[in-house]
Symmetry: C2
Subunit: 117 residues, 2 copies
DNA sequence: TTGACGATTCTATTTTTCTCGAAATATAGA
DNA sequence: TCTATATTTCGAGAAAAATAGAATCGTCAA
């Protein structure tokens, strides 16, 4: 991942509605959600949501596929992983001993679910 | 970390100069760098850099302390860890089996240094 | 106190981003 | 084909962010 890609992804997520959309899609899992479903879930206007989905898509954070009349969006976990790797890479490059705790901190949401994180 | 904090941090990093500053400070380590040093290293104007350092500071991503005539900035690793945890928390909440690979992917910069990441 | 230096703040201009109404496109079913 | 549904695209106005010159503030040393 290059700096421009990281800026695109960070900028796409640095927006209340888009961050909500992304988190919703992350929770929705690989099956994704139709644009209309997302709009109803978050109470957003269809055209505004479409613009924001376009920005998330351009940043590579979500994928889309047509299903009949609907267009189904899903989070791209790979790009999220790349973004985290990019940020951590910088951290590790200079100070591996400081970076280490970043990934070893237990995640609250996962602490009781087998410790996958 | 709340959504507003995450948006602040993401927005602060979603800017070419600020991301460079942050990465530079991450590489510089806990001893940090004076504002003037940063300006010389990145070729930025003092006043523009000061504005950007202020934004990074307001987002909690860097700390500052005066040292004589200089003001020394340093990356706040804790806030970076919080941001990553916030993003991962969302991921894990719905799909721990998908989230797992995020933290288990070896980091290129650390692969040969003991695998701390 | 004076001068030099390091950094920030003020201010105005430019640029970018956000939002939403209206119109357009694509699909499905009668 | 006609109609309804789902979504996107267009366009304009409003809001926010970025930039840089000029002025200001704090510190140090003579």
């Amino acid at each position: 991942m290059q700096q421009d890609d990281a800026i695109g992804a960070l900028g796409a997520l640095a927006h209340a509605s888009r961050l909500e959309v992304f988190r919703l899609l992350v929770r929705a899992g690989p099956s994704g959600m139709a644009a209309g479903e997302i709009a109803r879930a978050l109470g957003s206007l269809p055209n505004t949501l479409s613009t924001n989905l376009g920005i998330l898509s351009a940043a590579g954070l979500v994928s889309s596929r047509r299903d009949g009349r609907s267009i189904v969006y899903a989070a791209r976990y790979e790009s999220m992983r790349d973004l985290l790797a990019f940020l951590m890479e910088d951290c590790c490059a200079g100070n591996p001993e400081i970076c280490a705790p970043l990934t070893q901190t237990p995640q609250p949401a996962c602490a009781g679910e087998g410790g996958a994180c």
